[in-house]
Amino acid sequence: MKSFKNHFSLVIALVSILFSIQIFAIVDRTMDAYKENLANNYSIIIISQKKLQDKEIIDVNDLIKSVTELSADNVIERLNSGITEKNKELLKLTLPKFYKLTLTEYPSPKQIEKLRENLLKIKSITKIEDFSHNHDTTYKLLVLFKTVVFVFALVVFVVTTLLIFKELRIWQFKHNERMSIMALFGAPIWLRSAVLFRLAIVDAIIAGVITFGLFVYIASEPLIIEQFENLSINIIIFDIVNDAVTLFSASITLSIILALMIVIGHKEEV
């Protein structure tokens, strides 16, 4: 019970920090996946008076991923009211060319504006349809979501920092006396701090294991998976290797920093 109490407070503080780190990783991945979805579903239509080479268009701006020429057949079919085949061919030649551009990422309004300017430098392009109204609304929603996440991150950072400092004070109080007594008997600093570092590393590992278990469970929970599927987002909620390494490294680094701060701040009682 005594040993459990010794570990409990730091483990709880560390778990909450690790939990926040992993949540941010998931949110970040979700945002990236969502942006990729948006980019895949978003395209710009350009109309040119003459036929253009794909490369000619792609070279205009790095944002352009691919160019697809749209067939004029559908338009002509709709006009099909007794037009002869010969006239149809003639009409095809006189109609402007339509191109659909897909982009490498979901652009900001500024990027669209720049893209528009660059495309208009090609003299034959007469019209660009960028669906800017729909785009603006979606983009603003994305920016809002990002801002909310940033504010949330800031709040969690402040709260966890306070938690760590509170923990630091408790540890200073708890370990100062023992370290002072050991100093009075000539213990070198590494020996005085050994218990502290051992406790810090053990607590970091316990916190890492708890968080690891928690996210392995969350990642396999059907309800959570279903939520992501509903958004057509396919992400790795918890990467058993990379995320585990990140969590354990963060946990051990944090507790070692905590222990170091205590050792540095330690003053021998007189």
Binding site: K2, I181, F185, G186, A187, L191, E268
Partner: protein, 223 residues
């Protein structure tokens, strides 16, 4: 005879600059048994603190075990402290350690082997009549028992010098007698220098001792 402590024009004060000990000159022979007395607030404990390096001299020189304590480096101070046994008025036991581990502390610091450490601790626990309490924590013991643990810890590594601050201050006769016996034994059998700060010198002591008194910042030998 070798001198274990040499003080020359030693002045001690705390941060408020009030001089507690003023230009004291004294030396203590190796293997001697010393009592330091004085009224409350006269500077007995302050002098003791300076002897284990917790309080730096304001002026003058203080050499303990061949180490000049004015401007001493941390590593030299640690080295000196490994050869000193200290008994504090408030015991200063590590609360989260068993009494067995508390007694082991100086042996661990001095790098004794595990087997030697365990034998030494067992023997000391027997001497202080606490063998049956080895696994208990300090707060589970009475004041007298805690002071006996502190005494065992001070003797564990066979130090060259024992500094004891009011070691029997609030103890019953039984615990007091045990403590005096241990100090006498260390002095007689191991030639350990013993310096005891106290209000009352016990009458039934079996060793020759010197008595110093502190008054108005000066240290005088009482003949």
């Amino acid at each position: 005879m070798d001198k274990v402590i040499v003080a020359q024009d030693l002045s001690l004060s705390y941060s408020n600059n009030e001089t507690i000990i003023n230009k004291a000159n004294f030396s203590i022979d190796s293997g001697s048994f010393i009592f330091i007395t004085g009224a409350s607030g006269s500077g007995k404990s302050t002098l003791l603190k300076s002897l284990y390096g917790s309080l730096k001299a304001k002026q003058g020189s203080l050499i303990v075990g061949g180490v000049e304590l004015r401007g001493v480096t941390t590593s030299k101070l640690n080295f000196l402290r490994r050869h000193i046994g200290i008994v504090f008025q408030d015991y200063k036991l590590v609360k989260e350690w068993t009494i067995e581990k508390n007694i082991m502390l100086p042996l661990i610091i001095n790098g004794y082997e595990k087997g030697v450490t365990q034998n030494q601790v067992d023997s000391l626990l027997k001497h202080v009549r606490l063998k049956h309490q080895a696994g208990k924590y300090p707060l589970e013991l009475s004041g007298g028992e805690q002071q006996r643990v502190a005494m065992a810890r001070a003797l564990a590594h066979n130090p060259i010098l024992i500094l004891a601050d009011e070691p029997t201050g609030n103890l019953d006769d039984y615990s007091s007698q045990l403590i005096w016996n241990l100090l006498e034994g260390a002095n007689e059998q191991l030639n350990t220098t013993v310096i005891v700060v106290t209000h009352n010198i016990p009458r039934n002591l079996n060793v020759d001792y010197k008595h110093y008194n502190i008054e108005y910042g000066s240290i005088h030998e009482v003949l």
